[in-house]
């Protein structure tokens, strides 16, 4: 199995995470390939966000390891993971509230050691791409919600990541905002040879964006593959709707 994975991929293998004896993740293995958008779905409390935290080194692993493009990541080292080219966004937006939009985006580049001037250039380009250049000098706290979400993604991109982990990027957006986001996201993988993992509850959005989805429930992988197949998978339906769904449906 390991041999099939291209060395350019992000591989999180056999990830187990425990909180005070509670198993939040149980031996999950997931691969993100450059150039693809992979959907991560599963019912409430199934461990999706924990998986992103585990990959980025923000929670300690009980077992498993993370490999980014062939490099094994040390345990609990979010910095190393980030500097190896893994960017992320958060379920609840985490912007640097008192910094301007431009500064927010610059930080990601600055953190990688890029000079102030160059970072500014990178930020300008990305903001242009996201159609937010006019807001560059706005204090982040004063943005509306949809813009905050977009700035968060723009910020992650400014670090020129190889992989981007998006935790519910469309949550709280209205229809048109989420449409626009969708369009922007769809272009990214090809343009930048970027691998994206996306968590969202909005199934139409997931099906529009992703070819492949990975489904977890109660901390375990229950299905993975093309979205049409997964949707019909009895295990998935059971996970979402309840144990006796098969007989009833």
């Amino acid at each position: 199995m390991q041999a099939d994975i291209p060395t350019t991929a992000l591989l999180a293998s056999n990830i187990t995470v425990e909180f005070a004896g509670l198993r939040a993740l149980d031996g999950v293995t997931i691969v993100i390939n450059p150039g693809e958008i992979l959907g991560l779905i599963g019912p409430n409390g199934s461990g999706k966000t924990t998986l992103i935290n585990a990959i980025t080194g923000q929670v300690p692993l009980a077992t498993g390891q993370v490999t980014v493009a062939g490099d094994v990541m040390p345990l609990s080292a979010p910095r190393t993971v980030a500097l190896s080219g893994v960017g992320r966004t958060f379920q609840i937006v985490r912007l640097f509230d008192q910094l301007t939009v431009s500064e927010n985006v610059e930080t990601a580049a600055l953190a990688k050691g890029i000079k102030r001037k160059d970072a500014r250039k990178i930020a300008t380009e990305i903001l242009q791409e996201f159609g937010m250049l006019s807001r560059a000098e706005t204090i982040a706290a004063n943005l509306n919600y949809g813009d905050k979400r977009r700035v968060e993604i723009a910020r992650a991109l400014a670090a020129t990541p190889k992989f981007l982990l998006l935790d519910e990027p469309a949550a709280g957006m209205n229809e048109s905002e989420s449409q626009m986001l969708c369009k922007q996201l769809l272009e990214l993988p090809k343009q930048r040879n970027l691998g994206i993992l996306i968590i969202d509850h909005d199934m139409p959005l997931i099906s529009r964006l992703c070819d492949r989805v990975h489904v977890i429930a109660s901390g375990k992988t229950i299905a993975a593959g093309l979205i049409e197949n997964v949707r019909k998978d009895p295990a998935v339906i059971e996970a979402y709707l309840g144990s006796s769904a098969r007989q009833d449906a």
Binding site: R79, F90, L110, A159
Partner: protein
């Protein structure tokens, strides 16, 4: 034109203009007490702007700042107390230190460097901590620094007053140093490190996920802050001529902190404004104290009114305007914004 329009240049220029006006007025008024107040004010600008470099950019409350002021003051004293005075001022001085000497101006800056070096040496591991643990450790650091100053008779003359520092600190000198401190602090705030530090302040988790080395960034801010505190301490030492470790403890911490909190820790404009406002209020209240004293309303002498008023103002500001009077925008930003608005 574009140079003039630069908001950072404008900020520095405006704040330095304020200092310049202070110097100008003090020369115009030509009252020694006013000059002394103005000089103290400029020293406080150095101190408060120094504290802002750390607290404002990292969002961590530091109690240790005033301790580094002490380090600077004592270092400068060791280098400048005239040889003939040393026997009396520092009776227990280590023999190898007897030969130390430097010109006062140099000594003031060396004091800053020694403070920065000590800060660098002791503080790196502390920068991992946040919230209450960070505050308690900084408080503990202040107690440690204070205890050392209080008892290291060989170097500080123990709890006793150290005297004999040449009184070279003048208003122009402090005003220049204060202007320099403002410029340095603003440069730091807008530098790569400054932005990264402010990022860690606004959201530590996101900053870490981005690969920012939080402890290192905070550490550098802390060193800069200690450097400015040390310089401030040296200036102050050469201003008052004699002091004891008591001068670098909680009461003074409270005043410096009060100035920053009221002005707004997020901005250098706030820090400077805080110093001006609190100084003005303090001096007016002191006059009030004198009036009350002569009116004999209270049984004894009226003391402590200034501190009480400052304390209530701090609580009020924090409750009503948690970011201080100038929470986010530097004066330069405001001016540029105004100009743009007028144009557009």
């Amino acid at each position: 034109m574009s140079f003039l329009m630069n908001r950072h240049t404008l900020t520095v220029a405006s704040l330095c203009g304020l200092l310049l006006m202070l110097v100008f007025i003090s020369y115009a008024v030509d009252v020694r007490v006013f000059t002394r107040i103005a000089t103290t004010l400029c020293i406080n600008v150095v101190m408060v702007v120094g504290l802002q470099s750390f607290m404002g950019n990292t969002g961590i409350l530091s109690f240790a700042h005033i301790g580094f002021m002490g380090v600077g003051a004592y270092t400068s004293a060791l280098l400048t107390i005239p040889a003939q005075m040393r026997g009396m001022a520092l009776p227990d001085l280590y023999p190898f230190m007897e030969g130390l000497s430097a010109s006062p101006i140099l000594a003031i800056f060396l004091g800053g460097i020694v403070a920065a070096v000590i800060a660098a040496a002791v503080s790196y591991p502390l920068m991992r901590l946040s919230d209450a643990a960070a505050v308690i450790t900084s408080f503990a650091l202040l107690v440690v620094l204070h205890t050392v100053m209080l008892h290291w008779s060989e170097v500080t003359n123990g709890p006793r007053t150290l005297f004999g520092l040449p009184a070279i600190t003048s208003l122009p000198l402090t005003a220049i140093v204060a202007a320099g401190a403002i410029a340095v602090a603003l440069m730091f705030k807008e530098s790569r490190l400054g932005i990264l530090a402010r990022a860690t302040r606004d959201d530590e988790t996101a900053a870490r996920a981005m690969g920012i080395n939080t402890p290192r960034v905070r550490w550098l801010a802390f060193i800069l802050s200690a450097l400015l505190a040390g310089i401030g301490g040296g200036l102050w030492g050469h201003f008052v001529g004699s002091f004891s470790p008591k001068a670098f403890y909680l009461k003074e911490t409270f005043v410096i902190l009060g100035m920053l909190v009221i002005g707004g820790p997020g901005t250098i404009t706030g820090a400077v404004l805080g110093v001006f406002i609190v100084t003005a209020a303090f001096e007016s209240l002191r006059t009030l104290e004198v009036v009350l004293n002569s009116a004999q309303i209270f049984s004894g002498q009226v003391v402590g009114v200034t501190e009480i008023v400052l304390a209530f103002s701090m609580i009020a500001v924090l409750a009503l305007r948690p970011g201080g009077l100038v929470p986010t925008r530097e004066i330069g930003d405001a001016i540029v914004g105004l100009i743009r608005k007028r144009k557009g």
